[in-house]
């Protein structure tokens, strides 16, 4: 079968909008092909002359505006009321009134983008840089001050001579047969795809360079944000003070708030301290919590010196429930908790005064439990 270049359309040029509309009336009934007019500006009455239906753009705008409104409202209610409830000025979390301004803006945004982009991209199928009309010599007249009427093939072959005669009879000043666009060219799909691929590659290269550059040269910090703040850290020096130290010792005789100072200087001095807490179940529970959290890792949950860290650490912590430790007074145990002993660090900063005494009580409980008296069992059996 012979493949020939069929004409895309036959175009007649007119010099006034009235001539154009008259010509449409004459040509309309005499050809079955699609008619298209070309004008430099919108000419009123063409819609009717060419029998266009109402533009669907209004419906598109309504639907997109509605979607915009619903998505804005859902986003606002969900984020501010559910996912991250944020109470400001004592308003309820679902205070919809405050969401109206953004709801309005998003609705307008969606609707206007639907109108603009929907018209350009969907309805008018732009960009169309390779449309056959753009290659004609008449195009420059049609965007200036002339009016064109084209009989378009839309896939079917055109009888160009008969159509030219028809347009000529309708008053066309000039006739041009529009050839279809060649398959290759500067704006062909291949060229566009190549261009896009190159842009994508350039983006990837830039992203990779940035990513690896920052990874390989971590000293180069692009944004320090608030990492760089002039300040005095603990134990750092400062030329501001005479002794060169940034930290200031408290004034002589300063007493810390919330707890009386711990006065005993040695275990002997602490021997006489009396556990101020009563031996109640609540105190034992509190002591157990403190003991299990801080002491048990070394001294063991049962106070037998076999904690979970003992083997790994290589230390030999005191067996609290046997031997010499049983002979220690409450005050002596308290003193060790406060000041530490051998490898054991002081726990004064981790346990409050009450927690320490409660832990002492709990140590006594463990001792008693592992070496119970007969009376204890009688007590329990009753």
């Amino acid at each position: 079968m012979k493949r020939t270049q069929e004409a895309f359309s036959v175009l007649g040029i007119f010099d006034t909008p009235d001539a154009l509309i008259r010509a449409i009336g004459e040509v309309k009934g005499k050809t079955g092909h699609r008619l298209e007019a070309y004008t430099p500006y919108p000419v009123h009455g063409l819609d009717r002359a060419l029998g266009y239906r109402k533009s669907p753009i209004g419906g598109m705008v309504f639907v997109m505006g509605f979607i915009g409104a619903v998505s804005a409202l859902v986003l606002e209610l969900w984020t501010s009321g559910w996912d991250y409830p944020l109470v400001t000025a004592g308003k309820p979390v679902l205070s919809w009134e405050a969401f109206v301004p953004i709801l309005f803006e998003i609705t307008v945004l969606f609707a206007a983008l639907a109108a603009g982009l929907g018209m350009l991209l969907l309805l008018n199928r732009l960009p169309a840089l390779r449309h056959p009309m753009l290659r004609t010599r008449s195009m420059a007249l049609l965007t200036r001050d002339r009016f064109g009427l084209a009989v378009e093939s839309a896939g079917e072959p055109l009888d160009t001579e008969a159509l030219a005669a028809l347009l000529g009879k309708a008053g066309a000043l000039e006739i041009e047969v529009v050839e279809p666009s060649p398959a290759r060219g500067p704006a062909s799909p291949t060229a566009l795809a190549t261009g896009l691929a190159m842009i994508l590659l350039a983006c990837l290269a830039a992203a990779g360079t940035t990513y690896w550059g920052i990874k390989l040269f971590p000293r180069v910090i692009p944004m320090v944000h608030m990492l760089d703040q002039p300040r005095l850290d603990p134990q750092s020096g400062s030329p501001f003070f005479a002794d060169g130290s940034g930290m200031r010792p408290p004034v002589e005789g300063t007493v810390s708030q919330g707890a009386p100072p711990y006065l005993p200087r040695s275990r002997q001095e602490a021997e006489g301290l009396v556990n101020p807490l009563p031996g109640t179940a609540a105190v034992f529970r509190r002591g157990r919590a403190a003991y299990d959290t801080h002491c048990a890792v070394c001294h063991g949950l049962l106070g037998n010196g076999e904690g979970s860290l003992t083997a790994a650490y290589g230390a030999r912590p005191t067996r609290l429930t046997a031997g010499a430790a049983r002979e220690l007074s409450d005050g002596a145990i308290y003193h060790v908790i406060v000041t530490g002993k051998n490898a054991m660090p002081p726990y004064a900063s981790d346990l409050t005064e009450d927690e320490r005494w409660a832990a002492v009580h709990y140590v006594r409980v463990l001792e008693r439990a592992l070496d119970a008296l007969d009376t204890d069992f009688q007590e329990g059996a009753r």
Partner: protein, 464 residues
């Protein structure tokens, strides 16, 4: 004399005067408006460009200095945490509103005189909004983190506060910018197609081809185009009223005396249109004389714009009076004190400049001579621009510097950096305007062709 004939003569006398002077055909319009585009501009253009771009570069350098050093280089300090940055933001957003008003609201009202000035005013909207967005961006201190304002899922598990007027502002201004840009671009497409077809093959032609998206003026395209344009105009009308209302919420929703007033939204919108029209008048006066467009932008156009300015001026006077009334009627000593600070005290002069420039001087426009004389209207417009800047100064600085907590009262003094960035924003604005006049048609050629005599078919009107 029969009834219909008398009626026709009355209707004839009610018709507005022609929007153009002298007979023009659409081809000549193209030659007139599109030929200067891309041609080597006159020496004056280069001189102006040198001045404006220097100012813009100065502003840019000072912004870099601000960001590198910290916002301490500005005069802002508690309680005046908002100063030049927010004044300039409100000022520039306001300037933009004239463009949308001309392109959207006047389109819906079918005021045909808008066609000559719409393109330029829309471009000014976009450039003004660019200048405006600059200020909140540098005001946040670390502009590279400004994306935190956007609601996006993040590791912090936090969302922005949708009840905050400052976030409303982000959405309003960004929507406004996008829609203005879209509206402007859609209007430009047919003009870009005309430019493309007038340009000899080369780089320029490729650029115009791509920008015009291959527009070919098909009637099936115009059919959707006109409808979409009208719908966007309708939507932009809502925007123009909402954007400056939202800007005013930044103030009105707070509790600062002098800010917490329900009159703020309409008062701000009127002020925005006021300042914007003054800027459009000044720009159009320059454009029409340098580009010889006196027959397209006639004294009638300038007269109409000056009438809008006069109307807005009266609205501003009313708003100022009502502000005083609200202060008095509140029986609140804090608000009384703030209002006294507007017209007396440290910044009293700023208040009087505002009243003189915005209310007193524009009253000259009641005189036809001032509405039609170039020097007269430039004087008034200049006064309005200065006055509207000072109005925002009064609202922001005078209200803040002495608020509830008298122990922190503080006199704000702008630094040289503040002034430099303000000058830089003007430089940026006029640089963009000059570039626009160089590469794009300053008058919406296609829209002008529509209203030329004989542009529309006679048969279409009479048939049905």
């Amino acid at each position: 004399m029969s009834g219909p004939a008398a009626r026709a003569s009355i209707l004839e006398s009610l018709k507005p005067p022609p929007v153009l002077s002298g007979p023009i055909r659409s081809g000549e319009l193209d030659d007139r408006l599109l030929t200067p585009v891309g041609r080597r501009p006159p020496l004056a253009w280069f001189v102006a460009f040198a001045v404006t771009s220097t100012a813009a570069l100065l502003g840019f350098a000072l912004i870099v200095y601000t960001i590198a050093t910290g916002i301490g280089v500005w005069g802002n300090n508690i309680p005046v945490a908002w100063a030049f940055d927010i004044i300039n933001f409100v000022f520039w957003v306001g300037i933009g509103h004239a463009g949308t008003l001309i392109s959207a609201i006047l389109l819906l009202f079918r005021a045909r005189w808008r066609n000559s000035i719409s393109r330029f005013a829309e471009a000014m909207t976009i450039f003004a909004v660019i200048c405006a967005t600059l200020f909140p961006l540098i005001h946040v201190g670390r502009p590279w983190l400004a994306f935190w304002l956007a609601p996006y899922p993040n590791q912090r598990g936090m969302w922005p506060n949708f009840r905050s007027p400052l976030l409303w502002d982000v959405f309003a201004v960004n929507t406004y910018f996008l829609i203005s840009l879209l509206f402007w671009y859609i209007g430009l497409i047919p003009d870009l197609a005309s430019l493309r077809d007038r340009t000899a093959p080369g780089v320029r032609r490729v650029v115009y081809s791509v920008l015009s998206l291959g527009w070919r003026g098909a009637s099936s395209h115009w059919h959707h185009y006109e409808r979409a344009y009208l719908i966007i105009a309708g939507l932009a009308t809502g925007l123009v009223l909402s954007v400056h209302s939202v800007v005013s919420f930044d103030f009105a929703v707070s509790l600062v005396p002098g800010w917490h007033m329900t009159i703020f939204p309409p008062y701000f919108v009127a002020g925005a249109v006021f300042a914007g029209f003054a800027m459009v008048v000044m720009a159009m006066v320059v454009v029409r004389s340098t580009m010889h467009l006196e027959h397209l932008i006639t004294a009638y156009h300038l007269d109409m714009m000056n009438r809008v300015i006069l109307t807005c001026s009266c609205l501003m006077g009313y708003a100022y009076l009502l502000e005083g009334f609200t202060a008095w009627y509140s029986m609140n000593p804090s608000i009384h004190h703030t209002f006294r600070q507007y017209i007396g005290g440290t910044y009293g002069l700023a208040g009087w400049i505002t009243i003189a420039c915005n209310v007193a001087i524009p009253q000259l426009l009641w005189l036809r001579w001032f509405r039609r004389n170039i020097a007269g209207m430039v004087f008034v417009s200049l006064a309005v621009t200065v006055g509207m800047w000072f109005e925002r100064f009064v609202i922001i600085v005078s209200s803040l510097h002495q608020d509830f907590l008298s122990s922190s009262w503080h006199v704000y003094r702008p630094t040289l950096v503040d002034y430099g960035i303000l000058v830089g924003s003007f430089g940026l604005f006029f640089t963009l305007v000059l570039l626009f006049a160089r590469v794009l048609p300053v008058i919406a050629t296609t829209e002008m062709k529509m209203v030329l005599p004989g542009a529309q078919p006679r048969s279409g009107e009479g048939e049905r």
